[in-house]
């Protein structure tokens, strides 16, 4: 069962030098570069926190006059945070039904030769820069919606959202949240579309084989399967809406205020829009207040995104 080693079988080869490691220098260098790049991301994020902290933390407690007439940091940041949340939720309320319907349209309803261009058109919507959306909302959509503002204030005035003097130029949170909805629609649509398309064919065919109509198939086979994916899509849309600056800064005429009223001339202002509109003011104290509100925004969106990830992870674990 054993055969002696036979060095004579390899004439002319010095086995000792043959296998020894020549230069894995390339490997070491390349690996080093990859590790360095990855670590740089660690460093960059740490830097974000450190520098925003150094510049922003003093902003939590400066002279009262720097808080845009609100007297204290909390007095400023609470209304701003409220407005940020409010605008994002309004946008979601508008965007989610449309996004789900369009995702269904692409994945289950439209014939293939329609679905492909439609998906492309929705992606195109995602490519439009936010400043262009803002311009369109301020100059085109807002004025067009003035009659709608008046109608809402007149007929639905008993609701707190519409109770007051309607704006005469449409530059309101109402217009802004419609624009915001259009902006987050593509991201929610594309994620929903993916999870809908991943529904196992077997589930769908089983439903159809039981005599279900198409809607029943969607309701009993597709939606249950896609639920966690849809929730995370909505959360990601929310995260996007929270951080969006330009649409609101360009469209809604602002006031630092907690108010549900969305069709008037004084609209609750969001954190991001507040920073964008205050960027020109160059007193160091005012700037550190703005940076401090930015930190709050960062922390808040981080929480929302973390929650979205947690839902995705939980959905996967099932």
């Amino acid at each position: 069962m054993t055969v002696a080693a036979d060095p004579g079988a390899d004439p002319g080869v010095d086995p000792k030098s043959d296998l020894s490691g020549r230069g894995s220098v390339g490997d070491v260098v390349f690996r080093g570069l990859a590790v360095a790049a990855a670590s740089l991301i660690l460093v960059a994020l740490a830097a974000v926190f450190i520098f925003l902290g150094i510049e922003g933390i003093p902003g939590f407690n400066v002279d009262a006059q720097h808080y845009a007439g609100q007297g204290s940091f909390l007095g400023l940041v609470v209304p701003l945070l409220f407005a940020t949340m409010y605008a994002a939720v309004l946008a979601l309320i508008i965007a989610v039904p449309f996004s789900v319907a369009i995702a269904l349209f692409i994945s289950h309803y439209a014939p293939r030769r329609v679905a492909v261009p439609v998906a492309y058109v929705i992606d195109l919507l995602a490519a439009v820069p936010s400043v262009v959306f803002g311009l369109w909302g301020a100059v085109a959509l807002g004025p067009y919606l003035v009659p709608a503002h008046a109608w809402l204030a007149e007929h639905l005035g008993w609701l707190p959202f519409f109770d007051g003097q309607p704006s005469g130029n449409g530059r309101t949170l109402f217009t802004a949240s419609i624009v915001l909805a259009v902006m987050i629609l593509p991201i929610i649509t594309s994620i929903c579309r993916e999870v809908f398309a991943q529904t196992p064919r077997l589930h769908e065919e089983a439903a159809l084989a039981l005599g279900a109509t198409r809607w029943e198939m969607v309701r009993y086979a597709v939606f249950p399967y896609a639920r966690s994916g849809m929730v995370s899509a909505v959360m990601l849309g929310l995260g996007r809406a929270l951080g969006e600056t330009m649409a609101i800064a360009m469209i809604a005429s602002p006031k630092v205020v907690i108010s549900l009223f969305i069709v008037g001339t004084q609209n609750p202002q969001t954190i991001a829009a507040h920073i964008a509109q205050g960027y020109k003011e160059s007193t160091p104290d005012r700037l550190s207040v703005l940076i401090a509100t930015g930190l709050v925004l960062f922390a808040f969106t981080f929480l929302v995104n973390a929650f979205a990830r947690w839902i995705v992870a939980r959905g996967r674990a099932k």
Binding site: V35, L124, V131, F133, L135, G243
Partner: protein, 351 residues
């Protein structure tokens, strides 16, 4: 309704159904009704709304009368899904139309080659300075982000599979994806306030801010593409006595290059339209400034649009549309390039 309801009437295979082409019939009727509304002076929007509502109600109603409730629900949902799509397309078409129509009347050789230096009243100005600024700032962002992003993705896929650093980096890239763009701008501003001096706004700062937004996109898309390269191929290369780094640089990257380039170009097209971070980090400037490291603000197209709109004059608004058209064309060209690259590098089968 918790179960699919199979009612008695379904036990026979045939039952009353709508005639073939029923939806077209209802459609024509709905259009007629809309036309009637238009004649009665309800305006084009009112007429369309009435027509759509007529279809949405009429078609399921007919199904309800002739067929059954389940079929009617199905038809109602089908109608709603189509309507939702129709409504969502309106803003896109409207926006593209406005940008092209309003922008085209502003675009002229002067608009593209003048800056806003000492432009007052109705004098002709332009966005040359902003266009150059956008190219410079985006270029800086790309120069920083592409190598870091691609090397990080290589680390995550090729070296770090499952280890602790890789897990931490994956998490941090996720966090970076969620950084609000204005916070990225504040970061660059805070960084250079400390490094250079208070109130520093310059092109390089804008580039740093944009790279913070661009890196996670590049990492993500490159990761996806590297994952698509089968392990079989890596093993084949190792088995030929090729060191790992050469396997990556000469086999894995060339195999994935189409997708990587597409992802990078899309990442560029995403940051090129960013406004908020640039407003904060590179500021605004009516003059031409081609030095990204000079301690003075650098104008960019998105900021140009924003400041022109804030002028609140007819000329300012029309210049803003002009800027929007330029930016829109830039973004669309980048998207087109991404698509073309994606097609060119699609894997060849030779069949």
């Amino acid at each position: 309704m918790s179960n699919i309801d199979l009612s008695n009437e379904e036990t026979t295979l045939s039952h009353a159904t709508l005639p073939r082409g029923a939806q077209w019939l209802v459609g024509v009727a709905a259009i007629a009704l809309g036309g009637l509304a238009l004649v009665l002076g309800m305006g084009i929007v009112g007429a369309v709304v009435i027509g759509v509502l007529a279809f949405l109600i009429g078609y399921p109603l007919w199904a309800l009368l002739v067929e059954n409730r389940r079929s009617a629900t199905d038809k109602l949902i089908t109608g709603l899904v189509w309507t939702a799509f129709g409504i969502a397309v309106i803003p896109l078409i409207w926006l593209v139309y406005m940008v092209v129509a309003r922008g085209a009347s502003v675009i002229s050789p002067e608009f593209l080659t003048y800056s806003m230096r000492s432009v007052t009243g109705d004098e002709q100005g332009g966005l040359y300075h902003a266009l150059m600024g956008t190219l410079i700032v985006t270029g800086i962002a790309a120069l920083i982000s592409i190598p870091i992003g691609i090397m990080t993705a290589i680390y995550l896929i090729e070296y770090g599979k499952g280890n602790r650093l890789a897990k931490a980096i994956t998490f941090l890239v996720d966090v970076m994806t969620g950084i609000p763009s204005i916070v990225a701008g504040l970061f660059a501003f805070a960084l250079f306030t400390l490094l250079v001096g208070p109130g520093t706004r310059f092109g390089f700062g804008g580039g740093v801010a944009l790279s913070l937004l661009m890196i996670p996109t590049v990492v993500r898309s490159t990761e996806e593409m590297l994952k698509l390269v089968p392990d079989d191929l890596r093993e084949a290369a190792y088995a030929l006595g090729v060191p790992k780094w050469r396997t990556i640089t000469r086999m894995v990257l060339p195999t994935a290059i189409g997708g990587i380039v597409t992802g990078v170009v899309l990442a560029i097209s995403r940051v090129i339209g960013e406004t908020a971070p640039l407003l904060v980090a590179s500021g605004f400037n009516p003059n031409m400034n081609s030095n990204a490291f000079d301690d003075s603000p650098m104008m960019t197209v998105p900021v140009f649009i924003f400041t022109q709109l804030s002028e609140a004059t007819a000329k300012g608004v029309s210049y803003a549309w002009g800027g929007a058209l330029v930016l829109f064309v830039l973004v669309m060209v980048l998207n087109l390039i991404a698509r073309i690259v994606g097609t060119i590098f699609a894997p060849k089968t030779g069949r």
